[in-house]
Amino acid sequence: MSQDPNLVRVRDLAVDFKVPKRGSLLPARLRAVSGVDLDIRRGEIIGVVGESGCGKSTTGRAILQLLRPSRGTVTFDGTELTTLRRGPLRAMRRRMQMIFQDPYASLNPRMTIGELIEEPLLVHSDLASAGRRAKALETMRLVGLSDQWHDRYPHEFSGGQRQRVGIARALVSNPEFVVADEPVSALDVSVQAQIVNLLEQLQEELGLTMMFIAHDLAVVRHLCDRIAVMYLGTVVEVGVCEEIYRRPRHPYTKALLSAVPIPDPVVETRRQRLILTGDVPSPLDPPSGCRFRTRCWKAQEVCATRAPALTATAEGHQVACHFPENSEPRDQPAAIVAGGR
């Protein structure tokens, strides 16, 4: 039997949160992720982008079962995770790890860097103390931290170095799959580029499969093979990165690309901006039908009554829209030529 090209398969994933409701003893249900389908291929970096509250982090956490989904399935290398009991799930966790956004909040200030990096091995390996130490040092070198940092504490580190520690903690148990949740968003640009390069290099060397969650579309394009665009708890478009940047089919993807500032004043004055009106609606009370319709310039009656399903396009990516943009080929990424409404 040939190996499944997909390491992770997500089907109809939904995650609910309970939030207090005014004037009621019972909490309201906030559906943060609503019916997400996603395949993650072995050895790829898939970027998940969208604005705050779109459910991208929640999706990442639900895949790793750090949040239990309310509905749907998550299959990891053939094993269904949502129904797995604690013990077997813990064993699976060695193979899938997470890198967090805030390297300040995710490291225990009272542990040394060595202890922090060894900690996952206490759970995920039966290495003795000397073996754990050797493995921790090896991982530190891998992420560009020299041995002398082993006995230091997190407060002695800069933001970029702490993120390296966070990456080392994720990689020390030799995972196959890593979810990186906004790993460079809190860093200054010069340091951000160092970490992006490190992730790129690690993915190549270790053959990792990675889900890279971010709101910076330029970084995602730089790093990722494929990209999934999320809006208000749903995936609106998925496909090969360069395809989507050149020929976005979903109006939201197009608007998102058009909003990214470009560090060139000549390009900036030449390009036509597509500026969305209004704010993202509350996930407590999402619009009927297509969730983007309240901000979409192409919305028609059908958009309010029927939610569009994710459908394959001729170019081989998938889009959830009743009136997708046409797909004439372009020489330049759509960010530049995005036209009016």
């Binding site: 604005e51 640009v189 010069s190 340091v191 160092q194 500032p261 560090p263 500026i275 009106t277």
Partner: protein, 347 residues
């Protein structure tokens, strides 16, 4: 005469041992109606510069220890508190990164807007209220009248920033200091707010000092740019020159660190090695030298001045770099070197 002229500004903060200099000899100008950017990474002193201009550095935590802030010819640093209050709002208004911390959470939007109108412009209650509605309409807030009764927490981040812009514009200032105003916002909302500020500043001929860490944002907004590093301005240029002919290796590093959506996807990013120095451990000589791939011995020993570059002599472009001196004065760099692998060889 420039609308705002900052001369040799120096601001210190109290630290565990002695004090640290956050702003060290910063000079720049903003002309009437012009949009000027101040760009740099965290800790470079850009916000401390803005706070010094507004008189928001409060002893004993910090102190402006030198220089002048000339606004329409008057040195703000020498004004009495009462005189300074008259300048704030009507002369210079400020918009901050996080509107949630600068709006009062227990007062309605209407109350906060009318307060400044009544205080600074002496409007009566009714006149202030109708002006407040006008202002909210000007910043494109739908159903403006009904929004007057809203509290800050009932508005989204983008709406709150619109309210802040409305408040800043309420007394017709000649200058707005905008400090990282879109950093906390999502990209589609950022685009809305930037467009709004750009349009309104143009319509009302208000000058803007636009402070940000994001070079992409600068490209579409400012006419001139000042790049700050470790408390000093290291490059100043017309926006087009800064992006097309950057002169300072630090600026090369900033531009090389961000992938660009409009260019073909290419190899690895070219980040800057290391990280900015601690304010308490400023290196001697050029402050960027320890991270600079092109630095030579001179750079570690002597501090370069911010001077006109020989590559763009008539464009008003200034840079603080030994390597970028004219070749006959010992310079060894040109903008071409930006893409070349640095040679470590001393000539």
């Amino acid at each position: 005469m420039a609308l705002l002229e900052v001369r040799d500004l120096r601001t210190e903060f109290r630290a565990a041992r002695g004090s640290v200099t956050a702003v060290d000899g910063v000079s720049f100008t903003v002309d009437a109606g012009e949009m000027v950017a101040l760009v740099g990474e965290s800790g470079c002193g850009k916000s401390a510069t803005a706070q010094s201009i507004m008189g928001l550095i409060v002893p004993p935590a910090g102190r402006v220890t030198g220089g002048q802030v000339l606004f329409e010819g008057r040195d703000l640093l020498r004004l009495r508190p009462r005189e300074l209050r008259a300048v704030r709002g009507k002369g210079i208004a400020m918009i901050f990164q996080d509107p949630m911390t600068s709006l009062n959470p227990v007062l309605t939007i209407g109350r906060q807007l009318t307060e400044s109108l009544r205080l600074h412009l002496g409007l009566r209650r009714r006149a202030a209220r109708s002006r407040a509605v006008e202002l909210l309409e000007m910043v494109r807030i739908p159903a403006a009248e009904s929004r007057l009764g809203s509290y800050p927490h009932q508005l989204s981040g983008g709406m709150r920033q619109r309210v802040m812009i409305a408040m800043a514009l309420s007394c017709d200032p000649r200058l707005i200091l905008a400090d990282e105003i879109t950093t906390a916002l999502d990209v589609t909302i950022q685009a809305q707010i930037l467009e709004l500020l750009r349009d309104l500043a143009r319509e009302t001929r208000t000058a803007v000092l636009f402070i940000t860490h994001d070079l992409g944002v600068v490209a579409g907004m400012a006419e001139r740019v000042n790049v700050m590093y470790a408390g000093q301005i290291v490059e100043r240029a017309e926006t087009v020159d800064l992006f097309h002919r950057p002169q300072m290796p630090y600026t090369w590093g900033l531009l090389g660190s961000v992938p660009r959506l409009d260019l073909a996807r290419g190899g690895r990013l070219r980040p800057i090695a290391g990280r900015p120095p601690e304010l308490s451990e400023m290196p001697a000589g050029c402050r960027f030298a320890p991270r600079c791939a092109y630095a030579r011995e001179t750079c570690q020993q002597r501090t370069p001045e911010l001077i006109a570059t020989h590559e763009t002599p008539d464009r008003g472009q200034l840079t603080r770099c030994w390597g970028m001196r004219p070749p006959d004065q010992g310079g060894w760099l040109s903008t071409q070197d930006r893409y070349a692998e640095p040679s470590t060889e001393e000539s």
